[in-house]
Symmetry: C2
Subunit: 223 residues, 2 copies
């Protein structure tokens, strides 16, 4: 990890995107800030071009030209073109929320606490809600992206899996794998509804609605 440093020493730069990104993450050295700025500008360039021309008419070369870096550099930042398009960026689970969940809190009921954990995760989306919604929208009508998106989710699935395993202990009453899959389903369904109803709606409310529906389904209340 990186220790928080001095307040932002504003360096005058001619690049707008660079300057913007520099001020939003003013904590570490110039090298690190430049790195983040480039990553952001690559994601921006990718999403902008794809929105205009469609996913398959946009080459990595074109993206790099727009962002002003070499194509080789692109692949220093992203494993694939699709990753840049979806703006896949590390999305950590808050250690505080995770610890509370593992210890059996806050309510004591597994599902309720899982819901709480997921809510904090969703709210802490680092890249900003706007980009997250854009990614969900892209996924919604590009099947190929859904695949990549799920793979990304998968890395989180294993994190949730571990937390559930820790909470349940050595003789789990339910398969942690299953719980983790459920968690991913809830996040995905919530994101989808959130996307289709507008960014200003409350993600927690959507999450609660999804949980309620699934509960009704499994309670045998539906015909």
């Amino acid at each position: 990890m990186i220790a928080p440093g001095r307040p932002d020493a504003t360096t005058s730069s001619s690049l707008e995107a660079l300057a913007l990104a520099l001020e939003t993450s003013g904590d570490v050295g110039l090298r690190e800030r430049k790195k983040r700025a480039r990553r952001e500008s690559l994601i921006d360039a990718t999403q902008r071009l794809v929105e205009r021309d469609g996913i398959d008419s946009v080459t990595v070369e074109a993206i790099c030209e727009a962002a002003g870096v070499s194509t080789r550099t692109f692949f220093n930042y992203f494993e694939s073109k699709d990753d840049a398009l979806l703006g896949h960026v590390p999305w950590p689970v808050s250690p505080v929320a995770a610890a509370r969940f593992v210890e059996g809190g806050p309510s004591g009921d597994l599902l309720v606490d899982l819901e709480e954990l997921l809510a904090t995760v969703i709210e802490q989306q680092p890249a900003g809600h706007e980009r997250f919604r854009r990614a969900i929208a892209l996924v919604a009508h590009e099947p190929r992206l859904l695949a990549r998106h799920m793979a990304w989710f998968e890395s989180h699935r294993s994190e949730i899996h571990q937390l559930v395993e820790q909470r349940l202990g050595p003789a789990p009453s339910v398969d942690p794998e299953t719980v983790a899959s459920i968690a991913m389903l809830l996040v995905h369904a919530t994101a989808q509804r959130w996307e289709s109803t507008g960014a200003d709606s409350d993600p927690r409310a959507h999450l609660a609605a999804v949980v309620a529906e699934v509960r009704a389904l499994f309670a045998g209340d539906l015909r």
Copy 2:
């Protein structure tokens, strides 16, 4: 480059597969049977080579040499190398079971009937249980394949989605999207357990166990 003249010794095995496939589906013309046979032998060759050498050391060219077809033909059969590896083959929902589900049967409870529908789907796996298990095993420790696998599932998801929509009518008590996602989750979790416990176990039992776990989770029975 390659000088693919007459088929060499390696084709003998694929000829066996060809003969096998020819006799197992004796209903349509020779042309159709040959087509299926080739598809089977390509899947076989792909899985065999990948099991031996690892996914990234196996080129499409190598697969085609082993199966005795041109690389161009490979892509007449599969959209991608990964599809051949997973043995993705059309997996239709039985129209009879689907109709019964849509009409509100057999039990009247949405979840119970969904379970029944999925059970028939799983049991009717066309490619044979053995290959299905191999695919699940591959997916389990090759993250990249998970993506493709999910995309394949996605096409089924939309089919389930339609059935649920038809059953629930114009004012659905639950989002059909969510139900479809749940269905895919159940199938996937069931497949995973089935794979890890041996092919001779009963898939229906695994499905029932998964459903029971999720039900307990949403009933608030778990801590």
